[in-house]
């Protein structure tokens, strides 16, 4: 199996606050990894380090054989291949849905406008909202916005997708439509790293579960192992809290 992401002894501080402590992680092509843990455990920070939205201070992050350093060229190259979906969608409110999606192909990949819009439409069909193409993000529901955000990421044709709590800002009735798109994506073989508390989704999709607390990876196991036979007490406590309510 080809290794696409490699984190080695990664450490990060916000001033005095030690957010990531000696994180080791390796992701193979096609793998789906779900990261969970209490808030403030560093899980979002970890995946944000992988496309350098945050800089780490110690250790090594290698994506597709390229080490992430301050070198802007490397960062740009990695970002082109790594898609990211945010909790707050972060669609561009001043652009229509289709412009949101075709923007990066046009400007980053220098694609002709027509071709980029065709690609944008094909991804809108994939997330099942082609009829919303001409609307502005503010006119869509949360679930529709998040699906546009996924389409926007996919339009750059990334081979890794990072999801940072993609359903946490959604009303309950909209969570499923977003998860369905993500499950479909997983079935197509996308490499995915997902921070989420949707344990049903994790059970369906994940190859590996990671539990983080206080900046450390506490437990890493297959979903079966993780849910039925967790090793650490903190994992057990967390699971009992999250599964019983």
């Amino acid at each position: 199996m080809e290794q696409v992401i490699q984190l080695e002894k990664v450490n990060k501080w916000y001033d005095d606050f030690h957010v990531l402590k000696d994180i080791d992680l390796s992701v193979q092509r096609g793998q789906k990894i779900v990261v969970c843990g209490p808030s403030g455990s560093g899980k979002s920070t970890m995946i944000r380090c992988i496309n350098r939205l945050e800089a780490h201070q110690k250790g090594q992050i290698v994506v597709h054989g390229t080490e992430l350093t301050n070198d802007l060229k490397n960062i740009d190259m990695i970002r082109k291949n790594v898609g990211m979906v945010f909790q707050q969608f972060n669609l561009f409110p001043h652009l229509s849905v289709i412009d949101n999606i075709s923007l990066a192909p046009i400007w980053v990949k220098k694609m002709p406008k027509k071709e980029a819009e065709d690609i944008a439409m094909s991804y809108l069909e994939k997330v099942k909202i082609p009829e919303q193409a001409q609307k502005f993000p503010g006119q869509l529901s949360g679930g529709q916005q998040q699906r546009v955000a996924i389409a926007r990421s996919l339009a750059m044709n990334p081979d890794i997708m990072l999801f940072d709590e993609p359903t946490s800002a959604l009303d309950p009735e909209m969570i499923k439509e977003v998860l369905d798109v993500m499950i479909q994506l997983a079935e197509e073989g996308m490499t995915m790293l997902v921070v989420t508390h949707e344990m049903g989704f994790a059970k369906t999709v994940a190859d590996q579960m990671i539990f983080m607390d206080e900046g450390r990876i506490i437990e890493q196991a297959t979903p079966d192992e993780f849910f039925n036979n967790p090793k650490s007490d903190r994992t057990k406590l967390f699971l009992s809290q999250i599964l019983n309510h």
Binding site: L72, D76, R79, G83, N90, L91, P93, S153, M156
Partner: protein, 370 residues
């Protein structure tokens, strides 16, 4: 029958509105009555002065007014109407300053094309907008050539420019040049590069900490010191430099306010798609930030347009300067009200226009996006 009931319904509607809003309590009623009396008194006084009892070209005896002694109010005791003849007599100066009268067509030409140069920027749904925008970029060079002269046109030095020409030249050029400069300053102030950032901060804070008059004096006296011998920019250019720097600092702060209002997530989303700094800035940040900053930006533009009248202090004759020169003329002296009211009206037309445009733009952008 139906028309009658419709009418009475309408009347009822107005009646109800009046009762509800103007006479809801005795305090309100009292204030309404006082306000109406006040507006009536001031309004009739002003209209009588400015229009009904005023002299335009001729006085009440029908004589052409060629100097102030012929104004009705200076002949008939008790007459108080305005004597607009001074504006007629000095019209060319108000519009063109001391521009040679046989060359004035050049200024008129530039005035006439100004709306065409601006309209493309103002309205984004204009048909053939692209060509209007091309023209916007050609216009400054064309206008400069027409006004100053060059091959085929006699040279008219800027010391001959004046009145509305100077006011518009400083206002429009100042705003036009300050806009790109202010965007650079605002972005620089938020830059992560310490030297760029501190340069911008020092520039903005210095300019904002100094009155425009001081800048005008400084530009007038000190600019030649910084330039090589022999290069001696004329007064108008010096004033333009001062006005542009002043405006850019204020506009930069207005734009910075807009930049700060953009959520961090917008930048992260753009970065995660692989857009570089300039692409992110141009396509994502600025369109949103400028939209938010429209009201304060227009505010600074209106402020600057009015402040251009300060150049009379360094010896330039803008609209106000020409007005004061007219009053200093023994033929017309003491017609203060006429001159100042006229100048106010001209400034008001331009500033009110800017204000209305900003309202229109805010409304338009709001419906566009949500």
């Amino acid at each position: 029958m139906t028309t009658f009931s419709n009418q009475s319904l309408m009347r009822n509607k107005y009646y109800n509105w009046i009762i509800k809003n103007l006479f809801s309590s005795w305090v309100n009623s009292l204030m309404t009555v006082v306000a109406i009396i006040f507006i009536y008194e001031v309004g009739t006084f002003f209209l009588n002065w400015a229009i009904f009892g005023a002299d335009f070209r001729t006085n009440f005896q029908g004589e052409i007014i060629s100097d102030r002694t012929l104004c009705s109010k200076n002949i008939m005791p008790g007459e108080y109407g305005a004597c607009w003849a001074i504006i007629y007599a000095r019209w060319d100066q108000f519009m063109y300053g001391f521009y040679p009268i046989e060359q004035v067509w050049r200024v008129n030409f530039v005035y006439a094309l100004l709306p065409l140069a601006i309209i493309g920027i103002l309205f984004d749904k204009l048909p053939y907008r692209k060509y209007f925008i091309y023209f916007t970029f050609i216009y400054p060079f064309l206008a400069y050539f027409m006004l100053y002269g060059g091959p085929g046109l006699s040279v008219v030095g800027t010391n001959k420019w004046g009145g509305l020409l100077v006011t518009l030249f400083l206002g429009v050029t100042g705003i036009g040049l300050a806009f790109p400069l202010s965007i650079i300053l605002a972005l620089g102030r938020r830059s992560k590069m310490p030297i760029v950032k501190s340069l911008c901060v020092v520039f903005i804070e210095f300019i904002r900490g100094v009155p425009l008059i001081t800048l005008l004096f400084t530009a007038n006296v000190m600019l030649p010191l910084f330039l090589p011998d022999g290069v001696n920019p004329d007064n108008l250019l010096r004033a333009l430099v001062a006005v542009t720097l002043f405006q850019s600092a204020y506009m930069a702060e207005a734009i910075r306010g807009g930049l700060q209002a953009i959520p961090r997530g917008q930048i992260e989303a753009a970065q995660s798609l692989g857009l570089n700094y300039w692409q992110t800035t141009r396509k994502i940040i600025l369109p949103q930030a400028l939209k938010i900053a429209i009201p304060p930006i227009v505010n600074t533009c209106i402020g600057l347009f009015k402040d251009t009248s300060l150049v009379l202090i360094i010896g330039l004759f803008d609209l106000l300067g020409i007005g004061r020169a007219a009053l200093a003329d023994m033929t017309w002296t003491k017609l203060y009200y006429e001159v100042y009211v006229f100048i106010s009206l001209v400034f008001f037309i331009f500033c009110f226009g800017m204000s209305r445009y900003s309202l229109y733009l805010e409304k338009k952008l709001k419906t566009d996006n949500s």
